[in-house]
Subunit: 205 residues, 2 copies
DNA sequence: CACAGTAGTGGCAGTCACTGCCAAATGACA
DNA sequence: TGTCATTTGGCAGTGACTGCCACTACTGTG
């Protein structure tokens, strides 16, 4: 937060104010019945400004997915070129798990609020999943490119990504009422290990 | 179509008129720039009536997913109780593949139009994926119930469904420019077999 | 410290998806 | 044919989202 100019610090502050205001309002009064005007009002900006920070009401909730996508794509790119694709993907997911473990208390709280909100709002959960699939699509592109494969003709990169991301998806919804974030991360790690055990060695070649 | 009363036949006709009008308009002028008013006008009904047939603009495109979900859930329920869950799920998917092979030429044409539309409209593809995930959720419930497991605590049903549905997802997007529907079905079957080969025997127990 | 230049903000008017409500029309059935 | 249930159309309203323009506030330079 320090090191940037005043302008950028202000922007970041407004972004967080919007997110926090929205999360609290959504959780208290429901997502559908809360209007953008109320969120903007509660964060002391005009409704018009809201849409300069988030492309839609949904997008406000999906910033977590934006960050996750970035982390995993970077982690994937950093893996050695010759590594089998499934191993690279598991490393990418574990990089995300580590990022979650290292998150600030504020971000952890926001994450848990988002999770509660997704549980309470089916339409939002749909959006979140759709966003996750978009991430998978980009991961498939990257995995395929690393092996010089054409994802439009070869199902393998799709399966590699799908298998690994299944553990993330499970972990995101499966412990019905998680005590805390470490519990969620632990569940994801467990599921990932189950996936690894379930596959034949060398299946991804 | 025969055997129902005039009223129901008329309703079915209107439904198809709306779907066909919408698909053609969307493909020609783009999904976003086509309004409900235009679709309704082209199908000779009032805009208000449109929303008595479809809950949203998106839903118009997702009737295929509704039918698919029904087919797979029924097929799953019809499997013998003691069968290992992964085997049951592969049978459920293959039931859907057979249904697709037996579709009428009109429905095949609609399906291919939907596919082209999804390719051209990222936002619609997202909706379709979200809808597919909803189907997966119901499949997970069913798979878990058949084994007396609690899906909120056990990742296995999630993985079973996820692994099988991966082949469907791949087949739905993967052959970049499929000649026809049999080509798509064939690709799904191939991918499903690849999934089956990739897993250790007895992993799902 | 003043002075452009640029980026962020607010307000306004407009489009469009979607809904509730009531009145008119139309198939169903005795 | 007359009555009932269902479907339809029109209308007014809400709320998400956008383009536009003027205004304000930070930024880097002399």
């Amino acid at each position: 937060m320090t090191g940037m100019g005043l302008r950028e610090r202000k922007k970041e502050k407004t972004r967080l104010a919007l997110v926090d205001a929205a999360l609290d309002l959504f959780l208290e009064h429901g997502y559908d019945t809360t209007t953008i005007d109320q969120v903007a009002g509660s964060a002391d900006v005009s409704p018009r400004t809201f849409f300069r920070y988030f492309t839609s009401k949904d997008h406000l909730i999906l910033w977590f997915h934006d960050q996750m996508e970035e982390t995993m794509l970077e982690a994937l790119a950093a893996r050695p070129a010759g590594e089998p694709p499934f191993a690279s993907m598991t490393h990418a997911l574990r990089a995300q798990l580590r990022t979650m473990e290292e998150a600030t208390p504020e971000d952890v709280e926001r994450f848990l609020k988002v999770r509660r909100l997704l549980d309470a709002t089916p339409h939002l959960a749909s959006s979140a999943y759709a966003r996750a699939i978009e991430t998978e699509r980009r991961l498939v592109e990257t995995v395929a490119a690393r092996r010089g494969l054409d994802p439009a003709d070869n199902p393998l990169p799709h399966l590699v990504v799908s298998f690994v991301m299944a553990s993330l998806r499970v972990g995101l919804t499966c412990p019905a009422d998680p005590a805390d974030l470490p519990e969620i991360v632990r569940r994801m790690e467990e599921t990932l290990q189950l996936v690894e055990r379930s596959l034949r060695p060398g299946w991804d070649s």
